[in-house]
């Protein structure tokens, strides 16, 4: 059973069900791997002892029910987990232990899974390289000098290095899809409202959405099914039936109309990204899909609009971290001094930058010029998508404008860092579902993903198209294990 940790989630679930191996064996395999992989810095909190106990308890059960029987899962440290420290990778929550469980993790546990640990990420999910974490940067298993992407960088790295069979992240502007693309894994951001936000540390409420990160498309369908659903505790969650994504999963995509938006052919896009995109078009064409050139004219305004809306909401969402009720508190001679010291000391630079931007764009006198205008742009971007979805069933784009970059390369240049989200951000602004599926390598042998954007609540179609690409591309994660 040496390779048990390389198995897919689907294979593990059916193997445990068939008693080919026990939950304990599976769990120990991932724990062993995790213990040897500290150099990747993927974990913030390890729950290994509890996981083994849960596995043993599971193995004693008479019948195995649920979609995720006896599966250990490590999750992004943005999901609140009952009695387990939840930090959002921030000093300001370094000592915070929730008394409650997020709806999403709770959904996983009720399908038979249990917690393996809490994974590193960018502080409050603000970043595209996992370099803003209070717990240090995460390293991409594809190279010891490479970032895994962000903000769900710990999740992507842990998944690619076989430290967890699958994982969940959150995606506000690309935080699932970009790290998935950087690590040769599959990551899906569901339609806004498909998954509950209850119990997830909020970054930008109107954009945040949790989603699955897996080793292949079938796993993605399975995990999405397990986590999705209406939650009356989240007013923005939508009461629409969850499909049986797994049983409906098919690579038969003949006749589906695929839009290729011309505006995504951005200036200075590396030619190999363009080539990679064209390959994706060919895969789908070969599978019988109909390719259509489309236009999403407001695309170029998406990034600036995003970097107004997201920080605006964040500046307000993060106001609760004030040292009064929980988390880190610095001393001060009066209330406002205490606030200033706590927040100066507790937040990192990127978080402070976004709080400042957000506060500024909401200030009286600037609100109309920035926040209100950005909301209008957002509506125009939504309208663009609504319009093209009359003619196409899904849209194909590259996931990112480049493969994984070097640690430190963009750290001091926020704008170039933000440009990394150029293909993923419009999707969040429009609330649509989108997936990144690995489809090839660049000249440095680094993985590249393709993004499929779907109609609202039509996750099934983009899963099916991804499966078709996965088969045609025959992508294999080629990782030279350097960290053990």
């Amino acid at each position: 059973m040496a390779n048990i940790s390389e198995f897919s989630l689907t294979k593990l679930a059916s193997g445990i069900k068939k008693k080919d191996f026990t939950s304990e064996e599976v769990t120990k395999s991932f724990i062993n791997n995790s213990k040897k992989s500290k150099k990747l810095n993927t974990y913030i909190t390890e729950c290994f002892d509890d996981a083994i106990k849960s596995a043993k308890d599971f193995d004693k059960k008479k019948d195995y029910k649920g979609l995720l029987p006896g599966i250990p899962i490590a999750v992004k440290d943005l999901f609140c987990t009952k009695n387990i420290k939840t930090t959002a990778a921030s000093k300001i929550l370094h000592n915070f232990i929730p008394t409650y469980e997020s709806t999403i993790t709770n959904n996983l546990w009720s399908e038979g899974a249990f917690l393996l640990g809490k994974l590193n990420c960018d502080e409050f999910a603000m970043g595209s390289s996992n370099e803003t974490s209070f717990y240090g940067n995460v390293i991409n298993p594809f190279g010891n000098k490479l970032v895994p992407g962000g903000s769900s960088g710990g999740s992507a790295s842990a998944l690619a290095a076989d430290l967890t069979p699958a994982t969940i992240g959150t995606d506000t502007g690309g935080s699932i899809r970009q790290p998935a693309s950087f690590t040769g894994t599959v990551g899906l951001k569901p339609t806004y409202g498909r998954c509950s936000r209850w119990g997830i540390v909020a970054f930008a409420s109107s954009l945040d959405q949790a989603g699955p990160m897996t080793k292949n498309v079938a796993d993605c369908a399975l995990l999405l099914q397990a986590m999705s659903g209406y939650d009356p505790k989240d007013s923005t969650s939508v009461d629409i039936k969850v499909e049986n994504y797994s049983s409906k999963l098919t690579d038969k995509v003949k006749g589906l109309r695929i839009g290729i938006p011309k505006e995504y052919r951005v200036d200075n896009m590396p030619s190999e990204i363009d080539k990679h995109w064209k390959k994706g078009v060919d895969y789908l064409k070969d599978a019988g899909a109909i390719i259509k050139n489309i236009s999403l004219p407001h695309t170029k305004y998406a990034l600036p609009a995003y970097y107004i809306v997201a920080p605006a909401e964040a500046s307000s969402n993060l106001a609760r971290y004030d040292g009064v009720k929980y988390g880190h508190r610095s001393k001060g001679n009066n209330l406002f001094e205490m606030y200033e010291n706590t927040r100066s000391d507790g937040f990192g630079n990127e978080v402070k930058r976004r709080i400042l931007i957000g506060t500024y764009v909401l200030s009286s006198g600037y609100y109309d010029a920035y926040y209100l205008k950005a909301q209008k742009v957002r509506q125009l971007i939504k309208n663009d998508f609504d319009k093209v979805f009359n003619d196409v069933d899904a849209i194909l784009t590259p996931s990112t404008p480049s493969a994984a970059f070097k640690i430190g390369e963009k750290k001091d240049d926020p704008v170039s860092m933000y440009l990394n989200d150029i293909f993923t951000v419009p999707v969040n602004l429009a609330g649509l579902p989108a997936i990144s599926v690995p489809a090839g390598y660049d000249k440095n042998n680094l993985p590249l993903g393709l993004q499929l954007i779907g109609k609202p609540f039509d996750e099934q179609t983009i899963l099916n198209l991804s499966l078709a690409i996965e088969k045609s591309a025959n992508f294999k994660r080629k990782i030279n294990v350097w960290w053990k």
Binding site: T99, Y100, W198, V201, S315, R320, T359, Y367
Partner: protein
């Protein structure tokens, strides 16, 4: 009644000034749970025992609108004859304070639930219409307690998240008396509706007062100041008087009024500057992304409208028209829901006019003396009704009724039982009365002669004697008739 003229002006040597007042009333929605969480709202509980993870803003917690609070506010809007906005939006009002756990208050800014409405005031100089600008829903903050420890401030979050209706009037009020009438009328309407208990002592009704002054005849409003921290009608009135005089003094000395927020100090009866316009918070309002815009169906509004109880203005009209009451009497009876409820219960079994007299006379005197509200009345409406019925049917005399009423106040005793037990039933049996009268007349032969020779004043004496013999039970009307016939 003679109509008085409005006469609240500030008269100085240099001129006559008019005082312009607008109110922002914060009324706590009568609801078992909070606006966005299921925590209870009971007043006076141990600190921090009515607090959920949402109220204390734990990471990842989300607000969910309490539909009941929405309906309560719509009802209030309907009671104010206001426009109900089917589409409204909850915004975040951002500021930092220790008793504001989220770092923002969820409120309604640009698109309130309720638009323009009105309240009619009955003033000694006639009725006055005060326009309502808007009503919106918002969360209350917690409470900072500074005097429990010399070095620390304590925070009680029981109040955090409780639903408040902010009801904003137009600057239509012109005197402290009108403010008094406005608050009382607003409170009365909400109590009729059951949407706010209006208890100012417990803070379920609070108000910020906007005051400005202008010379009589001038059209333009002056610069206003907002007075916060006034927690009773009396203090509101005192604060307005002080503030108006302060502003007139400034203007007459060619000084400027700064638009600012001022605090009322009830010990010194002054107002002092709290923060100037420049220091005003920038609340950075924006729509709360955790909540979808609130879309109401017209059918819900229609349903609530249909279920609306009769409100004081309508009730008053009906009492005048159908019960033949004077406007003055009707006003008293409808001023509080509990009073009108009491009155309507009493009149189920007896004469309306007599009931009005008893309630506004004898009953109110007792309540005043004992400092009780009508809901604490020692005599229930049912028993008062029975008492009045005994008077109109001649079972007891009005005089006896007063004694019985006195006795009823002990534990709401049943008047029938008192009357029966003490044998107080009016003596209306003609034979019996004839007998008593014959007895009295034969005992007082001398006085009968005096009477017949012209000393008619003695008639009262004979009545008194008859009553004495009958222990007050003789039917006075019959006694009168018989005596008159016998003394002819």
């Amino acid at each position: 009644m003679s109509e008085k003229k409005f006469d609240y002006y500030i008269q100085s040597e240099k001129g006559k000034w008019e005082v312009i007042i607008g109110l922002e009333v914060h009324a706590q929605v009568l609801s078992k749970s909070k606006l966005f969480s299921s925590s209870p709202t009971k007043f006076g509980a141990e600190p921090n025992t009515q607090v959920s993870l949402v109220d204390s803003a734990f990471p990842g917690m989300l607000p969910v609108i309490n539909q009941f609070c929405i309906e309560q506010s719509v009802k209030t809007g309907l009671g104010l004859k206001a426009k109900i906005n089917l589409n409204s939006v909850f915004d975040r009002k951002n500021y930092f304070y220790a008793d504001l756990p989220q770092g923002y208050q969820i409120s309604q800014y640009k698109n309130p639930l309720v638009g323009e409405g009105e309240i009619i005031l009955d003033m000694p100089y006639g009725t006055k219409k005060v326009s309502i600008e808007r009503l919106h829903l918002e969360q209350d903050a917690g409470k900072s307690i500074h005097d429990m420890d010399p070095d620390n401030t304590f925070v009680d979050l029981n109040r955090s998240g409780i639903a408040l209706m902010e009801i904003v009037s137009k600057p239509d009020l012109r005197s402290p008396d009108e403010v008094n009438a406005y608050i009382k009328k607003l409170r009365s309407i909400m109590r009729y509706l059951g949407t706010c208990d209006g208890n100012m002592q417990e803070g379920s009704l609070r108000a910020d007062v906007n005051v400005s002054v202008r010379k009589v005849g001038e059209k333009k409003f002056g610069t206003r100041c907002e007075i916060k921290n006034v927690n009773s009608i009396k203090f509101m009135q005192m604060a307005i008087e002080y503030e108006a005089k302060r502003q007139v003094d400034l203007l007459e000395n060619n000084k400027q009024i700064d638009q600012e927020t001022r605090l009322y100090d009830s010990k010194k009866n002054t107002t002092r500057s709290m923060r100037s316009k420049e220091d005003a918070h920038d609340y950075r309002y924006f729509p709360d992304p955790d909540l979808l815009p609130l879309n109401l169906k017209q059918s819900l509004v229609d349903k609530l409208k249909k279920e609306l109880p009769e409100l004081p203005d309508k009730k008053k009209e009906r009492f005048i028209k159908e019960h033949n009451l004077s406007a003055y009497e009707a006003n008293i009876l409808v001023s509080e829901k509990e009073i009108s409820d009491y009155y309507e219960e009493v009149i189920k079994g007896c004469d309306k006019k007599l009931a009005t007299n008893w309630i506004t006379g004898d009953l109110f005197a007792v309540l005043n003396k004992k400092n009780l509200s009508i809901s604490q009345s020692p005599v229930s409406a049912k028993n008062l009704s029975a008492l009045i019925k005994m008077i109109t049917t001649g079972k007891i005399s009005g005089k006896i009724a007063k004694d019985v009423f006195e006795k009823m106040q002990d534990n709401d005793k049943n008047p029938l039982q008192i009357v029966e037990k003490e044998g107080l039933i009016q003596q209306s049996d003609l034979k019996e009365l004839e007998k008593i009268i014959s007895e009295v007349l034969s005992k007082n032969q001398d006085k009968v002669i005096q009477y017949k020779s012209g000393k008619v004043k003695l008639f009262g004496y004979f009545v008194g004697e008859v009553m004495k013999v009958s222990k007050g039970k003789a039917n006075p009307q019959l006694v009168n008739e018989i005596l008159k016939a016998r003394l002819k």
